[in-house]
């Protein structure tokens, strides 16, 4: 600003730089963009220039920086939002605990107090019971009758898994093979499915596989124990006379 004959652009630049310097000084940090450029290695000693020391490119950069910097609005005063959020978080934590506390001896709590009939997700392994005594398990869109209490426990089902549904709902699924306990005596190759206390001979391996069984499910019991059970229809029913265990 102490030039003898400054041009208008220089005056404008100086004004902008002054304003920028003041603002940066108010923020309490140095302003890097207006640092004096380093002295050239071979300075010209005679007749120092009367124009400002900053090169024109640096001036343009500074102008761009000044023009690009939007003026920050006044910083808004605190409304103690941190405390409010902290309290909200504590209230939600308390509610989470509250809705998860069981309020009766069956372990029912507020979060799961609503009946869940509408919330059934159809999937393999879903245990269903209609108005009758029979309990079914869904497998590949078929309902498989669990043929005995032994089979129910053997296959790892629990009473709390049983979903009571309407008979109409059950009827939409075609019946698959029954799910039974499998017995085999050590000295015989024959496998029997036990349904309601009655043994049913499974004709051959393809039938065994077709029924959805696996060899791990076959329990080895004494031949006498199998012989004591009354015989039912073989699987399939037209398989012929069942052999002795």
């Amino acid at each position: 600003m102490k030039q003898n004959d400054p041009s208008k652009i220089d005056q404008l630049l100086d004004l902008l730089l002054d304003a920028l310097q003041e603002r940066q000084a108010a923020r309490g940090r140095p302003f890097a963009a207006i640092e004096t450029p380093p002295e050239p290695e071979n300075p010209v000693t005679e007749a120092p220039p009367t124009i400002p020391a900053e090169p024109e490119a640096a001036q343009n950069e500074t102008l761009e920086a000044v023009l690009a910097e939007p003026e920050l609005p006044e910083k808004l005063p605190s409304i103690q939002l941190d405390r409010m959020i902290g309290r909200l978080a504590l209230v939600i934590l308390a509610l989470i605990v509250l809705v998860n506390i069981p309020y009766n001896r069956y372990g029912t709590n507020l979060a799961r107090a609503m009946p869940d009939a509408q919330a059934l997700v159809i999937r393999d392994g879903l245990v269903l019971k209609g108005s009758g005594e029979e309990i079914y398990v869904l497998e590949n869109n078929h309902k498989r009758w669990i043929s005995s209490l032994d089979a129910f426990t053997y296959y790892g089902y629990r009473w709390e898994q049983v979903n009571l549904v309407d008979d109409d709902f059950l009827a939409q699924f075609p019946s698959g093979p029954a799910l039974s306990i499998l017995y085999k005596c050590p000295t015989s190759p024959h496998v029997f499915a036990i349904e309601n206390g009655v043994k049913r001979w499974i004709k051959d391996i393809p039938t065994f596989v077709e029924q959805g069984y696996v060899w791990d499910d076959v329990q080895i019991v004494s031949c006498a124990a199998i012989e004591r059970l009354p015989s039912g229809l073989p699987i399939p029913p037209d398989a012929g006379e069942p052999p002795s265990p």
Partner: protein, 230 residues
């Protein structure tokens, strides 16, 4: 803890100052720590609310999984944003990028926390699993959109305005947001369940199969009565 929550007020009410400080690299680590603690807490709370529909175990599981989901998504996708920004002339550091994304994540977490009472209300007054699932998808979409708005604003301030490649960097941010949403939804599908189907016993992780998008369409179909979700 309350002290760390102060960052929320700065982000929500004085965001321009906050973004300028990120641009200038002021107190980045303190900011990141505060945002991380705040967002982890809020995500954990919201996760617990979601999981409470099923069981206490599910509530605890979701309280851990939801923060993991967001932080893991951040770590997976942040390098892409950083390197593409560098490629198009950005001079931000990786820490500045992470701070900006964490700002978006923190805003998302705060919005989710603000929705927690509504989720709790529906948890207590409805039992329809598919509805509850879609309600949460909607809430996450709203919260995520708000976070993204903050990210776009922050990126605009933090990146060098007027420098070369600015237009390209804006496109990078826009495309990266889709990537972030895509990775996030896939990760969410991988580490599900967060709510837990009522007829299925508690499981930490469910078998893989299907995908997030078809499941949402199926849920909408079930609510409208077109079919039953298998």
């Amino acid at each position: 803890m309350i002290r760390e929550l102060g960052v929320i007020e700065t982000i929500l009410r004085n965001r321009l100052f906050f973004f300028h400080e990120i641009r200038d690299g002021i107190d980045l680590q303190r900011k990141l720590r505060a945002m991380l603690i705040s967002s982890l807490t809020f995500f954990a709370l919201y996760g617990a609310v979601m999981g409470s529909t099923h069981s206490l175990w599910q509530a605890l599981s979701s309280a851990v999984k939801l923060p993991v989901l967001f932080i893991a998504t951040l770590f997976i996708t942040a390098p892409t944003l950083y390197f593409f920004n560098v490629l198009f002339g950005s001079n931000q550091s990786l820490l500045q990028n992470v701070a900006l994304i964490m700002t978006a994540v923190t805003v998302t977490a705060v919005i989710l926390l603000s929705f927690a009472p509504i989720t709790l209300f529906f948890l207590l007054t409805t039992s329809q699993y598919q509805f509850f699932k879609l309600l949460n998808v909607g809430i996450f979409a709203v919260a995520g959109s708000m976070g993204i708005m903050f990210l776009i604003q922050g990126m605009r301030i933090v990146s060098n305005v007027g420098t070369e490649g600015e237009r390209n960097r804006r496109w990078v941010v826009r495309l990266w947001m889709f990537l972030y949403a895509f990775v996030g939804s896939q990760l969410a599908w991988t580490i599900r369940p967060f709510i837990g189907a009522p007829s299925i016993p508690f499981e930490l992780f469910r078998q893989l199969g299907g995908n997030f998008y078809t499941n949402i369409i199926a849920s909408i179909g079930e609510i409208l009565g077109f079919f039953i979700v298998q």
